[in-house]
Symmetry: C2
Subunit: 356 residues, 2 copies
């Protein structure tokens, strides 16, 4: 049935449309352009839960004042290799790329450059910011925590304390860049919501119920009391994921001095850790790329458990998905397209013509 077929739309036209909607919602042109660019970038890489699925959320945030439509971040403190910024509710989609650029400049001077951004609204997929540094021959590490969010249990608990805490790195090689983006929990809240919407169980027990049991039942996430996300490592090794969450929150919330124990505006926004490393501070940059390539080549040269499933390099799948969608259009499910059509009506910005 045609209803089941994905919509295909050129990246340029859907990006321009999204930008128009965001401007209509009050965002300054340069802010709206960055927001649209990084949401569509997530769709292009296949991170659907961080793409235009969240356009309406971003529009709502602009309209209700929880996302600031224009203006600049402020620099709270700095030393030669670090800066702390306050985004004061500007979108992370707009501020994070600027923080990456500042981190790159500091890395050129000092070897590493670190920017912590607090109170940044929607940050979406960390993966979309990595290539900005990698294309300059740099390594990059990103982490993000949300002081207003508690959804991941510490190891041994059945109630939540941490936010999901995504972690991403990027590095250049002699071929494709390495792009790695995970969360320190067993699954992401977005994947649980997707499973609920699709009336499917989770593929493995990643939730801990109020009775302390691991479950695949996504609907427990809506119960009262709700289930919580298990830390990476699960029943046996959850102390590792739990400690990695603590690591992320120390490096973001504690260093930026805005924690979830405080009663302050902006806790629903995000704190982002951005660190860029210039490999030329340690040696020849081409030799670094050869070393990174050797790591990737070695991963590929192992014996797969199933010969039909060779080992994959982080980022490989996302880059292939992007290449395909840049050629034949960004793919949206009919359901999401209907949601975007509602946004189009609401913002009086007609959806662009379909590619096919």
């Amino acid at each position: 049935m045609s209803e089941q077929k994905n919509i295909h739309i050129s990246a340029d036209s859907i990006r321009q449309w999204a930008q128009n909607c965001l401007q209509q919602a009050g965002a300054e042109e340069v802010v709206a352009a960055a927001m649209a660019e990084n949401l569509v970038a997530a769709d292009l890489m296949g991170f659907r839960t961080h793409g235009l699925m969240r356009l309406r959320y971003n529009i709502n945030c602009l309209r209700d004042g929880s996302s600031r439509p224009s203006g600049d971040y402020s620099v709270i403190s700095k030393r030669a290799a670090v800066q702390l910024w306050d985004a004061d509710l500007l979108s992370g989609l707009y501020v994070v790329p600027q923080a990456v650029d500042t981190a790159i400049a500091m890395a050129r001077e000092c070897g590493t450059g670190t920017v912590i951004v607090k109170r940044a609204q929607h940050v979406a997929a960390l993966a979309v910011y990595l290539e900005r540094a990698v294309n300059e021959g740099m390594l990059i590490q990103l982490m993000c925590a949300t002081p207003g969010q508690q959804v991941v249990a510490p190891h041994g608990a059945k109630s939540a304390w941490f936010s999901p805490n995504p972690f991403a790195i990027g590095a250049p090689t002699q071929s494709h860049p390495i792009l790695f983006d995970i969360s320190f929990s067993m699954t992401a809240a977005g994947k649980v919501r997707k499973a609920i919407a699709e009336q499917q169980p989770l593929p493995y027990p990643a939730l801990i119920t109020a009775t302390g049991d691991y479950t695949t039942d996504a609907t427990t996430f809506l119960h009262d009391p709700a289930s919580v996300l298990a830390p990476l490592g699960g029943q046996e090794l959850g102390y590792k994921g739990s400690g990695l969450c603590l690591f992320s929150e120390l490096w973001t919330l504690a260093l930026s001095q805005l924690g979830r124990h405080q009663e302050q505006p902006g806790l629903d926004a995000n704190t982002v850790w951005i660190q860029v490393i210039d490999p030329s501070a340690f040696g020849d940059v081409n030799e670094f790329k050869a070393q990174a390539q050797a790591l990737v080549d070695g991963m590929k040269a192992v014996t797969p458990i199933d010969k039909n499933y060779p080992v994959r390099i982080p980022g490989e799948g996302a880059m292939a998905t992007r290449t395909r969608q840049l050629q034949s259009g960004v793919e949206y499910s009919p359901e999401l397209w209907r949601q975007l059509a509602k946004v189009a009506d609401m913002m009086q910005q007609p959806l662009p013509e379909l590619t096919t």
Copy 2:
């Protein structure tokens, strides 16, 4: 039976004895003192597989020339916030603390300080180096990889490519420091060897056999072909552990430009990533400690799955173990004490008198 009872010995006297043995094996006094200190420090914190259990290994390395007994590291390259060192086979137990000190000094200037040390012999437990920075009010991150070692499988593989890649962080709070030390594999090679020696299965399936099956059978580690360590995350989420291993090896091996694809002396030694962060570069250091304390307090305030097992803070157990052993003597099993007695004979350094 008395054979089953642990030996108790004062930390000072066993440390001095170990130092004497290492000096007898050729190590310069200052090198031997650091080696003994950090091996006993691991025993004190309960990291038994990284303590004096490895004294004989260190003596052998000194004797056969694979551990350099004296001299200095060299600085290969530097920028304001980073340095690359070549330990040229000096013990990591001696060089890493110096690298931490240099990283602290750079962090004071620049906000962060990073030292990568390549070709460091035995590094032992990363946890023992953390407090050196934490006691100065700093945060610290350590990673270690070994170019000559392949024992962890990339996700989807049944043969190894990565080394075990330990990862550790430390941070000050208003009370006890946070000390976190894990590996990015499901278990450590030392724990597998311990299970073999004790003729016990592993507590959970952490090995992947040559047929591609997850197993608790530690003896498969001695088979030909041998089983390999599974990456953190296991069958469902091993891509996370696998990517974290790649992260560690990019940040150590690739940045230091000494990878396992090279045919070069020193591959059996280790490459260590040391990064120190000065929280006062971002804000008041006492407010940082209050923020870190709030994170710890929040972890403790959750609802435990089993009310008899409250959530533990990383480092809590190790520090309690150390306090106990500093009071009533370091505990050694009769089996390990017999091994140390053999070392005592070999080095003609009589073991110290027992505390009890």
